[in-house]
Point group: C2
Chain length 414, copies 2
């Protein structure tokens, strides 16, 4: 463990969240105060900013504007979905990263993202170690999907969950206003893990919300689904349904691929492109039952709805960024900041460190025992887990009745 | 003008809004205090509740729960889209309404809704007058579409506009995070009038927002649209586009009907069913330009997002309901409450009364001179008009981190 003096870089990667900038702020404010740090850089669009030698000099930002990052959604430094190759196969990118690190005397590198970002972080960490370049590298977790391994939960999840539950409550008031029975299908993000879709069930706890909830953790069967819907429709008329975009059948095929071929379009990490499932399922139900069905997709809205962010999530995201810096400054490297929930009835959360290699490319699923037997609902254990994460209201500043987001100068270092 | 003693009924009709219940509350609280009023009823699902003899006895509600109506979205009494026939053609429904009015000694009738609701209100008023039944009838405006004639603006619009502008600001932060150019198409409600879609332009005023805005007021041409998009894409890469669901070509055909036949499905008032336009336009652009395009439909969310309601809108909605009761109690009938904006630089709004017959079935459009010449953007006059309406944040009470909505007992009167 070595205390190094030099510059630091922080980068953001993967899909944005409402609080990913709060983590950057936590890290940057700590770095700006530290006597070890000569310069604080933000990588433009994650690791591609390092490769392109495009670093923002955050030392030149107005601290008051930086402070607004706490309430500004989506990656303020820009994001990427760039996948580094294995350096034993092709080390071109790594050589370039080392070159840039040397150019700016970078001794601290922070990467703020999800599974894939921790993979990037871990690879860079190994390469630097193997090449004898001293640099402390810490991952800062972020994902609305909440699927990072090794942490109780992820910054970004609580705010997205609060949006999902709040909007489901509002929509449940909306779709019920007419006398004629009505069915609503809501599509929620989550390719493999159903954490965010499960949050729809919190609405029901406090009023009205989805009657049926389908997560990717349980194989989805169209015939059973239609039975569930038809049975409830017969019993109560109106039915509200929440489905994860990533529901798959027993053979592993995405249900969305039944209707379109967009699920076969892949991104750089080989992930399928989702969307359109709600509209297609709505149409399917309408044709079967001859009832009014509306499909609603929360789409990107759910990952940037900072106006309804969870205060708990904002503070924990900040705390994660700060903890990352403190760990690195104390000489620790090759770790990801994780959250540990204290035992006992009162919610309390502290940061711990886990090995980067252990978190990279692993996904944490909703435990099967938190899902009901039929696989169409979520059990109370989930609410116990999730409710503390959505507590508290944001104090997002407003201007002219609208959010006042950070306006960074983003001066590129030369 | 007669001061009548008896019961009052309030009903809600048409598509809900975030503040339609605030209007009910304004009316009901005034009625509960009035010595003229023997009973306060809420019609279940608008006029159909009167026809079905299903009236909620609001006198039996807990005043604290009623007070929560100020922050509870969507028609708490239920809504309908029932169209009354002309009573000269078929007076069956009117006879039934009169029967129910007599049964409960109803001397005050308030109807809270949009164009079609004012039509209903006006017809009932005429019928009662022609049949010598003394009853004061007042319409309370409500529509997120803001298209009611005779009023500066409508309760419900400010909150929906605040949601639209806020979400466009958040989405503009989201879709820009990647380096690759990206195009976003946002579909906003508004069948004939573009008021709500125009609100998307407020986002740009305070940060980032749609570059192109298309309202139904200007004929839409697919070729010019693609030219606008391609040109901006070439110039700046990312392009954000807001379209009204109701955009039509010069021949009057809905653009949504180019892609599907849902636009040909009509509701009880002969209105086309919209939706799916964003996804279809996104696909169209993607095929033409070969760029990543995301289509987002705000769908029902925009009309019930009470967590981001405008405080100005909430208070004005309450004021409209209260003014309706006060007018009726002072002996006035056959009017709709309208808003008049004071002259001068400071925003001030007061209620006035307009003839029901003058407002029924008329629609107020965005003035052509507030739209740019090319018909792909909104001019500053619109922001001057709309900004005061979105000011102030809701004080919606929360429970467990989620909205605490009114839970009415809804005891049916017998």
């Amino acid at each position: 463990m070595k205390q190094l003096s030099g510059a630091c870089i922080i980068g953001q990667s993967g899909g944005p969240s409402s609080v990913i900038n709060a983590s950057v702020l936590g890290c940057v404010e700590a770095a700006l105060k530290s006597p070890l740090i000569t310069k604080v850089y933000g990588a433009a669009h994650g690791i591609t900013g390092v490769l392109d030698d495009k670093l923002y000099d955050l030392t030149q930002e107005d601290p008051a504007e930086l402070a607004l990052l706490r309430y500004t959604p989506s990656s303020a430094l820009g994001s990427c979905r760039y996948k580094l190759k294995d350096f034993l196969v092709d080390d071109t990118d790594y050589k370039r990263i080392l070159e840039i690190f040397k150019k700016y005397n970078v001794r601290y590198f922070f990467y703020n993202g999800g599974n894939d970002s921790m993979d990037t972080c871990s690879k860079i960490s190994s390469y630097m170690a193997q090449n004898g370049y001293e640099c402390n590298i810490i991952g800062i977790p972020k994902t609305i999907d909440n699927d990072l391994w090794g942490t109780d939960h992820c910054p970004g999840y609580g705010s997205a969950a609060k949006y999902v539950a709040t909007t489901c409550m509002e929509l449940s008031r909306d779709y019920l206003v007419y006398q004629d029975p009505s069915i609503m299908v809501i599509e929620i993000m989550g390719r493999n893990a159903g954490w965010l879709t499960a949050a729809a069930s919190l609405a029901k706890k406090f009023g009205m919300g989805p009657d049926l909830v389908y997560l990717p953790e349980v194989p989805f069967d169209m015939a059973s689904f239609m039975e569930d819907v038809a049975e409830l429709h017969k019993k109560q008329g109106d039915v509200m349904i929440a489905v994860s975009e990533g529901i798959r059948d027993a053979g592993g095929s995405y249900i969305s691929s039944y209707f379109t071929d967009t699920a076969n379009e892949k991104d750089a990490f080989g992930h399928s492109q989702m969307g359109g499932l709600a509209a297609n399922l709505a149409n399917f139900i309408k044709n079967k039952l001859g009832v009014k069905v509306r499909g609603i997709e929360f789409s990107s809205i759910q990952r940037c709805a900072s106006h309804v962010a969870s205060a708990t999530d904002i503070e924990e995201a900040y705390m994660a960024g700060k903890a990352a810096f403190e760990a690195a400054a104390s000489g620790i490297s090759d770790k990801m900041v994780a959250f540990k929930r204290a035992e006992g009835p009162l919610y309390k959360c502290e940061t711990v460190l886990v090995d980067l290699a252990d978190t990279a490319n692993k996904e944490k699923m909703v435990p099967r025992e938190w899902i009901n037997e039929k696989g169409n609902g979520v059990l109370p254990a989930f609410a116990e887990y999730a409710l503390p994460l959505i507590q508290g209201e944001t104090e997002q500043p407003k201007e002219g009745g609208l959010p006042r987001f950070a306006q960074l100068k983003r001066i590129v270092a030369r």
